[in-house]
């Protein structure tokens, strides 16, 4: 009976977890803007993995080698690092925006357009630098 209940819990966690993991990636594909997309993986995927870890704990407790709460540590680390990663990525995206949200004095800046690619700028830069040399 307990096994059955735990299994049920496991399965539910699994379903939810996998759904969110999928959702995170799906958001990546579906949404059109970077700042929309980033919401998907940073939250949904993190939660999804959390659920799957929980499922793993309960599964191992019943079917496997016993209770292994240490899998929680994986979740702890993930929950620690994922927001910071997201923070850094949005910093990166902000640094590439033509028009950044102004400083707090003007808190309502629109979302700027993120320049196409960091590589593009480099290419332009390289081209500019090469030209005078060719001319010489």
């Amino acid at each position: 009976m307990i096994t059955w209940l735990v299994d049920l819990l496991t399965v539910m966690l699994l379903v939810v977890g996998c759904f969110f993991v999928f959702l995170g990636s799906f958001a990546l594909v579906k949404l059109t803007r970077f700042f929309h997309r980033i919401h998907g993986p940073t939250k949904a995927s993190t939660l999804g993995v959390g659920c799957i870890l929980a499922a793993s704990i309960s599964y191992h407790a019943v079917h496997g080698s016993g209770l292994h709460p240490r899998e929680l540590l994986v979740a702890v680390f993930l929950f620690l690092t994922a927001p910071v990663a997201a923070h850094l990525m949005s910093r990166a995206a902000l640094s590439l925006m033509d028009k950044r949200p102004e400083d707090p004095s003007d808190p309502t800046g629109p979302e700027g357009h993120i320049r196409d690619d960091a590589d593009e700028r480099a290419e332009k830069h390289a081209r500019e630098r090469l030209q005078p040399r060719d001319g010489r």
Binding site: W4, D7, L8, T10, V11, L14, V15, G17, C18, F19, V21, F22, G24, S25, F26, L28, V29, F34, R37, I38, P41, S45, T46, G48, V49, I52, L53, A55, S56, Y59, H60, H63, G64, S65, H68, R70, E71, L73, V74, V76, F77, L78, T81, A82, V84, A85, L88, M89, S90, R91, A92, A93, S95, L96, I114, R115, D116, D117, A118, D119
Partner: protein, 93 residues
């Protein structure tokens, strides 16, 4: 009371996560901006944890704990470095 075939769900979950990785890959290749790609790579790392945990359940083994732990703890290093590069070019200032 119906017996629950947990293994079936695990196997299904593996495929779902795999498809999620495929989707991330699409964004990774497609871009168009560098942060998009970094995000996609980050997502791939997170999905990998899910995959490993599911696989550990599937095989009924604890052996992937260390791998998952390391990805959870340090997997964002790539994100840190790449983002810093985009922000400053110079990674260590």
């Amino acid at each position: 009371m119906i017996g629950i075939e947990v293994d079936l769900f695990i196997a299904g979950g593996l495929v779902v996560v795999g498809i999620a990785m495929l989707l991330s890959l699409w964004r990774l290749v497609r871009g168009p901006t560098a942060p998009d790609r970094i995000l996609a790579l980050d997502t791939l790392y997170v999905s990998t944890i899910a995959l490993l945990v599911l696989f550990g359940m599937y095989l009924d083994t604890e052996i992937y704990f260390e791998v998952a732990l390391i990805i959870a703890m340090l997997g964002f290093f790539g994100t840190v470095v790449l983002s810093k590069y985009v922000v400053r070019r110079d990674i260590v200032e």
